[in-house]
């Protein structure tokens, strides 16, 4: 059955690794956790346990992972902030997968999220027929997490309206949820916590209140620090994804990954990697996640309509699509980048340059 599922949750995808870590546990395990904080770190940052290789899930910035794990040990809620595509949700999913073996207690924050989705709602047919009862109550993922002493995830918390955000405050400080309809108080079991993520691009949409912020330990996830670590991330994720999706294409060559990462990093920072030249930035977010999906797309193109390996033309059209989001401005920036930076990079880049140029209608 698992084969038919498009995307398996982390705890199933990496079941072997999690089991190996639990089996080899030596350090004390906090209440409600499946493994020790040290093992969680090994799971996220990679390593080796009794012959089982643990693939790194989050590369670079190990210290931030340590801070995130330690936060959860101290029963504080964790808020991960960063640009889109800096692996906030990815990290939160893997943290819960390692700690609880369950990463699916998720509330997706949207403009339409209501307080009921944070707390509980009712099966109205049953409510009308039988009146308020535990059977008629629909518990939210957060409610479930409190009852089971596990960690709930709230994605994109700053997209929610403030009253919805505020509903979290009492849950996080009292660590109990009250159901006045049933005269019920449900205390959270040990191990309960919340990992929320928020997007820095959404700042100001629904600014988080100071009261709520105070209940979180805030960890800011930066873009990968070096080209090497970004390439590492992209390569690992692309190979994982292509296995899952049966893309029928060869994995992108090292130099293709390097080119994509270089272009993305340069446009993101607004200067070339050697700091010698300024580059006009683009309006879109050229995150690591975007680079991963770009390469997967190219692989899909190559697998379905090409000879199975990514050609320069495939890459050029994918790049064009990723970079140019706002037609006029980005188009200019991209053309400038092609002429001023890419053209001068020598023979290794000339193929890609010509393909991009051709696509640009010249």
């Amino acid at each position: 059955m698992a084969e038919e599922i498009l995307r398996l949750p982390a705890e199933q995808l990496f079941k072997k690794e999690i089991d190996a870590l639990i089996a080899a546990e030596k350090n004390p395990v906090p209440a409600g956790w499946n493994m020790s904080p040290q093992s969680v770190k090994t799971y996220i940052c990679g390593g080796k346990v009794k012959g089982t290789k643990i693939t790194p899930k989050y590369i670079g910035h190990e210290r931030l992972v340590e801070i995130a794990i330690s936060t959860l040990v101290t029963d504080r809620a964790l808020l991960l902030i960063g640009e889109p595509g800096t692996a906030k949700s990815w990290l939160s999913e893997h943290l819960t997968a390692a700690i609880n073996g369950c990463s699916t207690k998720v509330v997706q924050g949207t403009a339409g999220t209501t307080e009921e989705q944070i707390k509980y709602s009712w099966n109205y047919a049953m409510l009308v027929a039988k009146g308020p009862s535990l059977d008629a109550m629909l518990k939210s993922p957060v409610f479930n997490a409190m009852e089971t002493g596990t960690i709930a995830r709230v994605e994109e918390i700053s997209r929610c309206a403030s009253e919805v955000q505020d509903a979290l405050i009492s849950l996080l400080s009292e660590k109990r949820i009250s159901v006045p309809e049933l005269a019920l108080e449900v205390p959270a079991k040990k191990g309960f916590s919340v990992i929320a993520t928020a997007n820095t691009r959404d700042k100001g949409v629904n600014e988080m209140s100071a009261a709520l912020k105070r209940r979180f330990n805030i960890v800011i996830l930066p873009a990968p620090a070096t080209l090497d670590s970004e390439m590492e991330i992209v390569k690992t994720r692309v190979s994982q994804l292509s296995e899952n999706l049966d893309l029928n294409a060869k994995l992108p060559e090292e130099d293709v990954v390097e080119k994509v990462c270089t272009i993305f990093r340069e446009l993101r920072k607004g200067e070339t990697l050697d700091h010698k030249q300024k580059v006009k930035g683009t309006s879109g977010v050229l995150s690591t996640a975007e680079a991963i999906s770009l390469l997967c797309n190219s692989m899909a193109l190559a697998g379905s309509f090409g000879n199975g390996s990514i050609t320069e033309m495939d890459l050029a059209s994918a790049l064009q699509g990723a970079v140019i989001k706002d037609e006029e401005k980005d188009n200019v920036a991209w053309k400038e980048y092609l002429e001023n930076v890419m053209k001068k990079r020598g023979s290794d880049w000339s193929g890609l340059y010509r393909a991009c140029k051709e696509l640009n209608g010249e």
Binding site: P37, Q38, K41, E62, R63, E66, I67, I69, S70, T71, V73, T74, R76, L79, I81, K213, R214, N217, I218, V219, I220
Partner: protein, 752 residues
């Protein structure tokens, strides 16, 4: 025979200091031997004085230039410092046993070495890098803190340092650049130990305190070290000086230090209170207090959460309690909401701090330091002796509201004092540039004390016994080494700023000798200008202008003599001459003792003679006109002569350019001038006109839009055009094509 008790330390280590005291209490030795220059024994009584508060440092320096220095800083938590205190309290003898500073300073390439010298070597550096990698920490400081500072007990600590020292030694033995020096030092220390034992002290009653690295080298102390009478030596002096935590925290320059002295002093306090957690919570509390004081609300709840997070982080590393790195990261997460910049000022204050040490008055200072502190007190500048930068605005005028002469000119004397320090290159005070309006009677200084300033002060001791004496010596030296008059003029200026008449006179005499041989008008004019300003405004500083007057006269006269011949030059050189003429003219206008007639004669010659650069001739005419020494009739003759038909365009228009550099209104008002110019230009051939354009364009660039308006009106009248339209035409900004044409004219070769 028994061995003495060795105690391996790391300099600036609170745990080391604490356990060392325990060790001394347990052993109750008769004699304590400490790694440190053996000639420093005389400073012990000053270090233990009640008025001394660390951080302090011992500075040794050579008595000859170039000055070389070595520095031994002590913080409260330095094991050596605690050993000294312990010996003082228990009346036990303490001796330093390392090479004397005279020898250290004589070893080449060791101008700046320090007690942590053994960490500065490349090879060792690589080992530390490797250590960072294995421990997965951000640096060896953290490694050290987790393994040594947080050692479980005394035994763990000593085992740790000893095996660390021994391992480091076995990895690097014989490979470092200064291995020879290490061998020499250890031989010397061995000999000192042997001497002590030979003198009849039971080795069991001796405690030897050295860097853990040296213990292996001292174990066979019975061998002694040999004869040291032929060691290299240089004459050196040492003194105790106040030091600062900030200086300790930067490894630059004098080297020895640790990155977070204020935090380490918290660790030290924690040891003494027997509260190992003390450093953790007081770090957070101090940080929060600082942030609150600077207007950033930090809740007590965040502080509690930060301490808890730091403990969790330490646990993740299997540490018993948080290290500095854990504390800082926890503070960023819980107090700074994830961003370091938000709390960076507080972090600097909590980790580094602003503490500076103090010494009792007059203790072990060089006489120049004593003079410095005496003057600080005298001039009421003591409150500026902090490491926080403060501004001081001085009003040099007499304060008529106070009675005594001393307080009436307090600010002036302060200014003298600060200028003397500036001349000596002591970075205690920095003169800020103020606006020109009140520059003559007001000065703005930014002042802060730094250990560097103290060191620079000590280095100045070679130049004199007092600040003024040293400054005068420095100025004398500058005069002797001067290669141009400008440099001497600067010394005269400095001497006036410093209120040092004698130095000024000395420099003036030197200037006089040099002036005789100088032919460069620029130099002469520049020097005359400086002197002129000093004479003009010197009285605000109570400087006597009289001795300078003959000098200025001489310079001025000499300038008059050489100016005309200097005017035979090309256009590019003429700018410098124009500057010189302006300076000389200003000087002449300011001082009536200068020879006015001669000056006017020279200007007249320059304006009339045809063999000179025409631009300069024009400029001389402009000055004469401005001073009212050229009437309209003369100007008209000159204009028609200079601009007569047939005169090459570059000469004619160049002259006009020079003329137009001054008194524009007077020119604009004279319609006849514009008529002459018009007739001249009309008569030019096309090619010639193009040349003239370049000069005219440059000449009119200096005119404002309103002035151009008036010229346009003039032209309109002459040409019979509407003034308004002409004005529009001359005031339009050039479009690109015209600009190109004009630019191409610039490339024109006028010599053809």
């Amino acid at each position: 025979m028994d061995n003495p008790n060795f105690f391996g330390i790391r300099h600036l280590s609170p745990a080391g200091a604490y356990y060392l005291r325990c060790f001394l209490n347990e052993k109750q030795p008769e004699l304590v031997l400490v790694e440190g220059p053996s000639d420093f024994n005389d400073i012990l009584k000053d270090i233990t004085s009640e008025e001394t508060t660390p951080p302090v440092a011992v500075l040794a320096y050579t008595k000859e230039v170039p000055v070389k220095t070595i520095l031994y800083p002590f913080a409260e938590y330095s094991p050596e410092y605690q050993a000294i205190l312990w010996c003082y309290e228990t009346d036990t003898e303490l001796r330093f046993i390392d090479l004397p500073s005279e020898t250290f300073l004589a070893i080449p390439e060791h101008g700046t070495r320090s007690t942590e010298g053994e960490e500065g070597m490349d090879n060792v550096y690589n080992i530390y890098r490797g250590l960072d990698k294995i421990s997965g920490e951000d640096g060896q400081e953290t490694f050290w803190e987790r393994t040594m500072e947080q050692a479980k007990d005394f035994e763990a600590y000593q085992k740790g340092t000893q095996s660390f020292g021994a391992n480091l030694r076995s990895l690097t033995e014989g490979k470092e650049n200064d291995w020879a020096e290490t061998v020499l030092r250890e031989a010397y220390m061995r000999q000192q130990i042997k001497d002590a034992v030979d003198a009849g002290i039971n080795p069991e009653n001796i405690v030897v305190i050295t860097g853990s690295y040296h213990i292996e080298g001292l174990k066979n102390w019975q061998d002694g070290g040999g004869d040291f009478s032929r060691m290299p030596k240089t004459e050196a002096v040492h003194t105790l000086m106040p030091y600062s935590y900030y200086r300790l925290s930067t490894r630059a320059g004098y080297g020895a230090g640790n990155k977070a002295p204020a935090y380490y002093s918290l660790l030290w306090e924690g040891f003494n209170r027997n509260e190992p957690e003390y450093s953790s919570y007081s770090y957070m509390v101090k940080l929060a207090a600082y942030l609150r004081k600077t207007g950033n609300p930090v809740s007590a709840a965040s502080v509690i959460e930060a301490v808890r997070l730091a403990e969790a982080l330490a646990m993740l590393r299997n540490g018993s309690r948080p290290a500095l790195r854990d504390l800082r990261d926890a503070a960023v997460t819980c107090i700074g909401e994830g961003s370091f910049p938000a709390i960076s000022m507080g972090v600097a204050d909590t980790e580094i701090g602003t503490a500076i040490g103090t010494l009792p008055d007059g203790v072990s200072r060089t006489s120049i330091q004593e003079d410095f502190y005496r003057q600080l007190k005298d001039l009421k500048l003591e409150k500026y002796r902090t490491i926080i930068l403060q501004d001081l605005i001085l009003d040099l005028r007499e304060n008529r509201r106070v009675k005594s002469e001393k307080s009436a000119f307090m600010d002036l004397h302060r200014s003298f004092f600060l200028h003397q320090l500036r001349v000596l290159g002591v970075s205690f005070a920095k003169l800020e540039i103020t606006s020109q309006d009140n520059a003559t009677w007001q000065e703005k200084w930014s002042i802060h004390w730094t250990p560097e300033a103290e060191i620079e002060l000590v280095e100045s001791a070679l130049k004199g016994d007092t600040i003024a004496g040293a400054a005068s010596f420095e100025m004398k030296e500058r005069v002797e080494n001067a290669t141009g008059m400008g440099q001497i003029a600067l010394v005269i200026e400095d001497a006036c700023y410093c209120g040092m008449e004698k130095a000024a006179n000395y420099a003036t005499a030197a200037l006089q000798k040099m002036a005789v041989d100088t032919v460069s008008v620029e130099d002469l004019a520049e020097t005359a200008h400086r002197l002129s300003v000093i004479i003009q405004y010197g009285n605000i500083r109570k400087a006597d202008p009289e001795p300078l007057k003959p000098m200025l006269c001489q310079l001025f006269y000499r300038s008059c003599l050489v100016l005309e011949s200097a005017c035979i030059c090309d256009d590019s050189a003429s700018n410098v001459i124009i500057e010189a003429i302006t300076k000389l003219d200003n000087a002449e206008l300011a001082h009536d003792f200068l020879d006015k007639e001669e000056w006017l004669k020279v200007l007249g010659n320059i304006s009339r003679h045809d063999n000179l650069n025409t631009r300069l001739s024009g400029f001389a005419a402009a000055i004469l006109m401005e001073r009212g020494n050229m009437n309209t009739e003369q100007l008209r003759t000159e204009v028609s002569r200079r601009l007569s038909a047939g005169t090459p365009a570059d000469l004619g228009a160049g002259w006009f350019e020079g003329l137009a550099m001054k008194n524009k209104y007077a020119l604009i008002a004279r319609l006849s001038l514009w008529e002459s110019l018009n007739i001249y230009l009309m008569a030019l051939e096309d090619e010639e006109f193009k040349k003239a354009l370049v000069f005219l364009r440059r000449a009119f660039a200096g005119f404002s839009a309103a002035e151009k308006d008036q010229i346009a009106e003039n032209l309109g009248e002459i040409l019979g055009l509407n003034g308004q339209e002409t004005s529009e035409a001359v005031n339009t900004v050039l479009d690109e094509s015209s600009q190109q044409i004009i630019d191409s004219l610039g490339d024109f070769d006028f010599d053809i």
